[in-house]
């Protein structure tokens, strides 16, 4: 859709942000479960993209962004020695979510989260990209730089775990 513009151009860079900013934020949120942190890291990701704009190719910028985002989250956890614990980080995220979001029943939310915690990260990420962002499998494959088959396997694994966990009525 876009002509092959250099990403060091203001308008092109902004367009890339407008297009992928929210997805990147959601992806990071899925990894750290802290909305404010996810938004901060999202900013860093795009600042990094700008610094490396000469290396970036408009055709592959999508997966480039996801790679930068992955690395940034890992850096953050390494520096802060905080385990990527899906539930223990929940306290910090509650303050930053709108009242609407909080209106959902707390108990049930905790139950849903517990189930997700049992899913290993690669599968969980695919599951969240599919269900929260409504991305199709080929779109997820492109962003994560893996095959569609790999996406389907991870999704299947996630669904299998969820199915067995909810069966146990926890």
């Amino acid at each position: 859709m876009a002509e092959t513009k250099n990403l060091c151009d203001d308008a092109a860079f902004r367009a890339v942000f407008m297009r992928y900013g929210e997805s990147i934020r959601n992806f990071i949120y899925a990894k750290c479960n802290d909305l404010a942190l996810a938004e901060d890291i999202t900013q860093d990701v795009f600042v990094t993209l700008w610094q490396r704009c000469a290396d970036a190719d408009p055709e592959t910028v999508k997966s480039f962004l996801y790679k930068i985002a992955s690395n940034r989250v890992i850096d953050y956890f390494r520096r802060n020695k905080v385990a990527a614990n899906y539930i223990s980080n929940r306290k910090s995220s509650v303050d930053h979510i709108s009242p609407q979001f909080l209106l959902e029943e707390q108990e049930y939310k905790v139950k849903l989260d517990r189930v997700l915690m049992d899913i290993p990260e690669p599968s969980r990420i695919v599951f969240l990209m599919s269900r929260m962002e409504r991305l199709k499998y080929d779109e997820i494959a492109e962003r994560l730089d893996i095959s569609v088959k790999a996406v389907e396997k991870r999704m299947h694994k996630a669904l299998l775990i969820i199915k067995s966990r909810i069966g146990k009525k926890i």
């Binding site: 902004r14 000469a54 609407q100």
Partner: protein, 313 residues
Amino acid sequence: MKQNNTNEALLARWLEGNLTAEEREELVRMDGLDELAQYLRDFEARRLPPLDKEAMWRAIAAKTIEKTASKSVTIKTRQPRLFPMAWRVAAAVALLLGIGVWLFSYVGIERYTARVGETRLVSLPDGSSVHLNAGSRLTFSPWIWSQRRRVNLEGQAYFEVQKGNAFSVVSDHGLVTVLGTKFDVYDRDNVLKVECYEGEVTVKSHMASDTITAGQGVKVSNGQRAKLSLQAKRPAWMSGKLHFAENSLREVFEEIERQYNLDIQTTQVDLARRFTGVIPKSDVNVALGMVCSAMKLSYQKTDDHTVQIRPAR
């Protein structure tokens, strides 16, 4: 039973609905699928709040573009940045040809902005016209118009396109292409809506594509697409009234802000509630009054451009 690879992707394909007869058989024998389906439906509701892109963009621009431009305020796209690298590359390529092509695409850009509270009519080089709604911007390259008819749109505009080459509209979430027709494009926040009033329009968004004809529209929001049936011969916003059909209060107030150049602040108002109705574009008290009485809210103007809205007592 043979162990083939599709077993490891079975549930993934179940979700997509893309099953062979063999797989369907296997699923019939599987239990827990109803509970799983229910879990997935419950999960649907857990979307993150939408990203305030403009706010984040300002933060990012402050750390990137504006640092190098050494001037605050908005991003300039008219003057290209002169990186040493670009000069070296341009110089290496045949000078005249290189610079000519470069000038063509960057310097010859026209930009039209309809500010908040105004609409604007833009004429394109081939006689096509664009009506920009308040708070929208249109950019295109007039120099290469005879070869390529393409515009960039932020916000909303109504187009009347002359027959000719493929005409395309690029917006944040979509790509609309036509051959000669009348249509409206709305692309704000996470919602893309295209309405066709004459001819045929192709809308590409989220790796999928729809073709609509006169009287039809398509709305893409958070990855969900819906087909629309149009009631009128022209978009409602061009008629002097604002029409809303099951729009969220957030959308309604944002449109009112744009039309009347206001800043609306809400307290304890559920902005996801839906509003349907027709309000004027030229009388702010009637407009606000109608929305507020329908939604059991009350409004108060705290100064010329600011309105406070809260639930009615």
